[in-house]
């Protein structure tokens, strides 16, 4: 019964954009502006993690939404499971997008088997968030290692799987990894060899962790109400806390901030493709980009958005990435399904320990 199989009989294809995006990325003002610009109404469903939206797509076999917002490095997962469709590049206003983003996204996951599956819209990092009063950090000396110091027992928050990556970068710098860390993303044996070492180190130092976060809200909660003074979090997390007036700052460590890019992809079952492209193109306008960046506190790929950004955002950016930090970013390589599965295994062992 196709009627049932659509999964939802309450909404028909109505010309309304059904958008699934990260929680906190879309503000009502943005939706209003979008509607004003294009006449398209939008319903917005938030999610908190890459896994959440991926599994939602899996459960619904790629239907239910017209546009989703996965991380660039996870796009191949969707392609492998046949959940998203290639982008019709002719319908995208590429000249609105920063060139370097278009270029680097090709190698970082947006293009699979020669077909593009995602239009990059923003990028951000995961680095050190710290309490400026209780634990001031300096660029150059600050390191992922700081998270694992025994004297910080019960005062740190990290995310399960990315904490292992940060730890890996420190261990690699110390020369303690058996294989080059980037090989882990290409070869399961290399990965296991490296991750065994990383995991052992992480478990030995687990006492510092007060709380694991998996989404922005939890990460912020760790600082707000759970007594944490240092964490490995997204830049937007720290920016949000700082906005609230908390003595929080954000800094790239010497090993390099973990950087990701995100963008909009079209699920296989997208019913309002027209509207989805309209949204992509609107997101790349400088005004929309600025609105977006200042609401979500991530960095937009829309050309010329800087001009519209408030001053404190620019200051935050400069403080976070002083000196050569911007050149030193560590970009997430593609994480294929096999990698994610093994990654999950190690994360689980880490969490369960």
């Amino acid at each position: 019964a196709p009627f049932i199989a659509r999964g939802s009989w309450a909404r028909a294809s109505s010309g309304e954009l059904r958008l699934a995006a990260w929680a906190g990325y879309i503000s009502p003002e943005m939706l209003d502006a979008f509607e004003k610009a294009t006449g398209i109404k939008t319903t917005y469903t938030p999610y908190g993690t890459n896994e959440e939206i991926l599994s939602m797509m899996r459960v619904n076999q790629g239907s239910g939404f017209d546009a989703i917002w996965p991380a660039l490095d996870r796009v191949p997962n969707y392609v492998e499971d046949g959940l998203i469709q290639p982008i019709d590049e002719s319908r995208v206003e590429w000249d609105r997008c920063i060139d370097s983003a278009i270029k680097s996204s090709e190698t970082l996951g947006a293009v699979v088997d020669g077909k593009r599956y995602q239009v990059p819209t923003d990028w951000g990092t995961e680095a050190l968030t710290f309490d400026t009063e209780k634990l001031p950090l300096e660029y150059g000396s600050a390191s992922y290692a700081d998270l694992w110091q025994p004297e910080l027992a019960g005062k740190v928050t990290v995310r399960g799987h990315s904490a292992l990556v940060g730890l890996a970068l420190w261990l690699e710098r110390e020369g303690k990894l058996p294989r080059p860390f980037l090989d882990s993303f290409k070869d399961a044996d290399a990965m296991r060899a490296n991750y065994d070492v990383i995991l052992a180190e992480a478990i030995a130092r687990k006492a510092t962790i007060a709380q694991f976060w998996s989404n922005q809200n939890e990460a912020q909660g760790a600082f707000r109400t759970n007594g944490c003074i240092l964490g490995q979090t997204w830049d937007s997390t720290a920016a949000g806390l700082k906005d609230e007036g908390l003595p929080i700052s954000y800094l790239a460590p010497r090993e390099g901030a973990l950087s990701w890019m995100e963008g909009i992809s079209l699920p296989l079952g997208s019913e309002n493709v027209e509207q989805a492209y309209a949204f992509i193109n609107w997101m790349l306008t400088p005004e929309a980009g600025a609105m977006y960046a200042s609401h979500a506190r991530v960095n937009t790929t829309a050309k010329g958005a800087d001009a519209f950004l408030p001053q404190e955002m620019k200051t935050f950016f400069q403080n976070a990435y002083p000196e050569d930090a911007i050149d030193n970013l560590w970009w997430w390589p593609v994480q294929e399904n096999w990698f994610v599965e093994i990654r999950g295994e190690y994360q689980d062992k880490f969490l369960s320990a």
Partner: protein, 293 residues
């Protein structure tokens, strides 16, 4: 079966039986079998399904058995659920007795209304209330420090917090069965025992408790079931060291994406619940039919 047709006639009887069949087979049994089936097959990408690798294996269960922590988490979940069950039982018995045999009408009514309110809201909100209370900089720590019982804030999230939150969330499922059971106790039984010279303790031990047995068993079964199968409370109130089995199941499905292994974990959870429930009933010497009324 013939009696159904005799009582309701062919048409109505047929409709009733069809509905029952639809429910028990279509909604419960077949999906259950499907889940077991899924738990016995490996996770394969769509391309490989139906191929030579698509055979029955015990890998998914073996993974659970061989995992350094999951087995432990499994038993901790049982143990903690039992703890929740026991705590709620201890908390509820005196109240149930009081409601049934001591309280005046208005007291009883007031208490019942008070108790219904948290129950009529949803489980997530009940969990949220405890999430707020137990927060590091939350009211519990503030109150304890103000009272001078603590010098610095404590972390309450973790197994303790989960147990407290669950006890709160499920306490009514313990209270009502016991209350109902004690209500049916003829007050003359208590009078008779006292009349024969019995002390209050003895009355409870020898008269009220045996009578309330079925209610207690029912309450225990329900609370245990709910605690073991709850995802909200551990997700909200847990800490790095306190993972629950349901969280593992959730992760297999929604983070790692290995549904087959998730199904296996689900089967294990169900098997464990049924074992404990049947064990409880046997322990109380209550049969399923008289429990759950």
């Amino acid at each position: 079966m013939s009696e159904i047709f005799q009582r309701f006639g062919k048409t109505l009887g047929g409709i009733f039986l069809a509905l029952v069949l639809l429910w028990l087979a279509g909604l419960v049994l077949v999906p259950g079998i499907y889940m077991v089936n899924a738990s016995l097959t490996p996770r394969l990408p769509p391309a490989l399904r139906g191929g030579p690798e698509d055979v029955y294996v015990l890998d998914n269960f073996a993974y659970l058995l061989n995992h350094p922590n999951h087995g432990w988490i499994f038993f901790k979940t049982i143990w903690s659920s039992a703890l929740v069950t026991f705590t709620t039982l201890l908390l509820c018995y005196p109240i149930a007795y009081w409601l049934a045999h001591v309280a005046r009408q208005w007291q009883m009514r007031l208490m019942l209304v008070l108790m219904l309110v948290p129950y009529l809201m949803n489980e997530v909100l009940r969990g949220l209330a405890w999430y707020i209370i137990l927060a590091f900089s939350g009211p519990l720590n503030a109150a304890l420090m103000w009272l001078g019982l603590l010098d610095e804030p404590q972390r309450w999230y973790g197994d303790g917090g989960v147990v407290a939150g669950m006890a709160y969330a499920y306490i009514l499922f313990m209270l009502f069965p016991i209350y109902n059971a004690i209500c049916t106790l003829d007050r003359d039984q208590i009078n008779a025992a006292r009349n024969l010279g019995s002390s209050t303790w003895r009355i409870h031990w020898r008269i009220v408790l045996p009578h309330a047995k079925v209610g207690i068993a029912t309450g225990c079964v329900f609370v245990f079931m709910m605690a073991a199968g709850s995802y909200v409370a551990p997700a909200l109130l847990g800490a790095p060291g306190s993972r629950w089995f349901t969280q593992l199941v959730y992760e297999w499905f929604f983070e790692i994406g290995n549904w087959n292994r998730g199904a296996a974990y689900g089967v294990a959870l169900m098997a464990m619940c049924l074992t404990v429930v049947l064990g409880l009933l046997a322990l109380f010497r209550v049969n399923l039919t008289s429990a759950i009324k």
